[in-house]
């Protein structure tokens, strides 16, 4: 029995990290750049997340939105919706937060090698995808086409506008953007309509393509249907899920979907797997 094993250090014990940079991205989202105080690297995979704490307030799972191929810092994008996220938004560079993780499976990078990557991002869903996009850009030769479909409710909600601009400059990335609606006085060059309106605008090779989809729950059903229509195999449609989470280690029970734990078995699941899970409702 494993009971005889040594008491290791507690998985509930966060490491302290320093906020290097805090940058507003939109009305509700801020980008945080952090570095672990003990000098270690986070060593994450694209698509993984960390549990971020503000001591005394609480903890929340937040996707890592930078690629491990960059430097020893990492970036998070946080939307202010409640206690923990609100407290994070009040912090300044130099302040300390707690970090546990990385947790979760992340995107299956080795299975993506040589493949065309179809990123479909709804709103804040771009944040977890960004770690993979950056990774693919940094190791550009290892992957096929990189296509990004990015939908927001309105132009002002677009994140990473600077970086998007850089990506648009690159010949080896294809980007299509949409907004649900656009105020009359705002200049907008992309499409207007829900994100699925972008699909007819790209031609993909379904056999070579893996779709990486992150967005609000309502988006999934439509995007998955569209991907299937394009002929992408169920196994090649990857989704990252959000659930209530308390521990990140498969103990607390909150994130369970049928017999899967989003924090450990996910957050990235193939549609093939989710379609077998009654509770995923996909």
């Amino acid at each position: 029995m494993a009971v005889g094993t040594e008491l290791g250090s507690s998985l509930f014990l966060p490491k302290l990290a320093e906020l290097l940079k805090v940058e507003p991205l939109s009305e509700k989202e801020k980008l945080f750049q952090l570095r672990l105080k003990d000098g270690s690297r986070l060593n994450h995979k694209p698509g993984q997340f960390v549990e971020v704490s503000v001591l005394g307030i609480g903890e929340a799972p937040i996707s890592i939105s930078s690629s491990p191929t960059r430097d020893d810092s990492f970036e998070l994008v946080v939307r202010m919706v409640g206690n923990l996220t609100g407290a994070l938004h009040r912090l300044q560079p130099g302040d300390t937060v707690g970090i546990r993780g990385p947790f979760g499976n992340g995107f299956p990078v080795s299975e993506l090698l040589k493949r065309d990557l179809l990123f479909v991002a709804g709103g804040i869903g771009l944040c977890p995808l960004r770690s993979m996009i950056q990774h693919a850009i940094d190791k550009r030769e290892q992957f096929g086409r990189i296509i990004l479909l990015y939908g927001c409710r309105q132009p002002a909600e677009q994140l990473f506008r600077g970086e998007l601009g850089e990506w648009r400059q690159r010949p080896d990335i294809e980007i299509l953007e949409s907004v649900d609606r656009c105020p009359v006085d705002v200049a907008w060059e992309g499409s207007v309509g829900v994100i699925t309106t972008l699909f007819p605008q790209v031609s993909i090779d379904p056999g070579k393509t893996t779709a990486l989809v992150v967005g609000p729950p309502v988006m999934y059903r439509f995007v998955v249907a569209e991907c299937l229509k394009q002929g992408i195999a169920k196994e090649r449609i990857l989704l990252s899920l959000e659930r209530r989470m308390k521990c990140g280690m498969g103990f607390c029970g909150h994130c369970q979907i049928n017999n899967r734990y989003v924090c450990q078995d996910g957050p990235v699941f193939s549609y093939a797997e989710l379609s077998r899970l009654g509770e995923a409702e996909l």
Partner: protein, 343 residues
């Protein structure tokens, strides 16, 4: 196998000595039921009880437990609060011990929960066969009325004597230090088998199939009308999960002192039957109805746990059967009914 005999009179005085030198929790009367509680005197201990209000797992995974302690000033610092005082748990029933086996698999599997592990290692387990199964229990048919071999000492009531089986070095040490024993003979062991058979027959509820079949039954039952039928009566009170020895879900919260300089993060029992259990900050609730929650609970017990940890998530103690005021929580009733539906 190291099996011994001790007389009940000797046993009582052993307990008295044990109490003087150890932190010891045993089964005491809590009218009209029983409860594990700190023993002060040997005569408080009831080993012929039927059920305890809460299972002994409350000592391994307490209702609230500090996880980390932190200081914010002058410099932020954090430390783990995983620690445990050595104690002896006496009077654990076989089904509850099966539950502990499952908890071991969950918390000391691929990832280790050191809070759990610290407590588990500090705990000496002295179990006892269940002489008086209570009417709501169905452990016999779940195969959990015979203890798994993860105890330190095991007692079987043979009338004027206890048969004492040693399960570990720690158990052997306890026996040597406190118990006046003689080696058990062949007849004693035969006697144990006989009384155990008698007790097994006393269980009033039973599962209509071998327990390993439950997942198969559930595989066909996702759309059964049963869930709706039971679910709409559910109070979402969580009683069924709070009393369950295999229920382990928890919430994590932060507390902070008035001076805002120090505080702690702690966990607290939570329940998948609460309506907010799967609700996220955006307001989305992934299990919004009693129907969905009840189904999840019974799938978790009858299938998911087994698939993940190799043990069923129900040990048949029957606590939830009785705790549920609207009579819908019973796993045995649900599984039997679903099996019938399937046929």
């Amino acid at each position: 196998m190291d099996v011994f005999i001790t007389s009940k009179a000797d046993f009582d005085s052993s307990i008295q000595r044990m109490i003087q030198q150890n932190e010891i929790y045993g089964v005491k009367r809590k009218t009209p039921s029983f409860a594990f509680d700190r023993l002060v005197a040997a005569e408080e201990l009831c080993l012929d009880y039927d059920i305890t209000v809460l299972p002994p797992t409350k000592y391994l995974l307490p209702p609230t437990e500090s996880l980390i302690k932190f200081k914010l000033a002058p410099e932020p610092s954090i430390r783990s609060s995983a620690e445990a005082q050595p104690c002896i748990l006496i009077g654990i029933h076989p089904d509850d011990l099966h539950a502990i086996k499952l908890l071991d698999a969950v918390f000391t599997g691929s990832l280790t929960d050191v809070n759990y592990l610290a407590r588990r290692r500090a705990t000496t387990i002295v179990g006892v066969d269940c002489v008086n199964p209570w009417p709501y229990s169905f452990a016999a048919s779940m195969g959990t009325a015979i203890p798994p071999r993860i105890f330190d000492l095991w007692l079987t009531d043979l009338g004027d004597e206890y048969l004492v089986e040693v399960g570990s070095a720690r158990g052997e040490d306890l026996r040597k230090r406190y118990l006046k024993t003689r080696r058990a003979r062949e007849v004693d062991l035969r006697q144990r088998n006989k009384v155990r058979q008698d007790w097994l027959k006393k269980y009033q509820l039973s599962l209509d199939m071998p327990p390993q079949e439950i997942p198969k039954v559930l595989d066909e039952a996702w759309h059964s009308p049963l869930w709706e039928e039971l679910g709409q009566k559910c109070l979402a009170c969580g009683s069924c999960t709070m009393v369950c020895p295999t229920c382990i879900c928890f919430d994590v919260r932060d507390g902070i002192e008035l001076n805002l300089k120090e505080g702690e993060r702690y966990r607290r029992w939570d329940s998948c039957m609460f309506d907010g259990f799967a609700k996220v900050a955006s307001g989305e609730n992934f299990r919004p109805t009693g129907t969905a929650r009840l189904r999840h609970r019974l799938y978790r017990k009858g299938k998911y746990m087994l698939e993940r940890y190799g043990e069923l998530g129900c040990v048949g103690c029957g606590r939830c059967v009785h705790a549920c005021l609207v009579d819908i929580a019973s796993p045995v009733a649900a599984y039997n009914r679903l099996a019938k539906e399937a046929r």
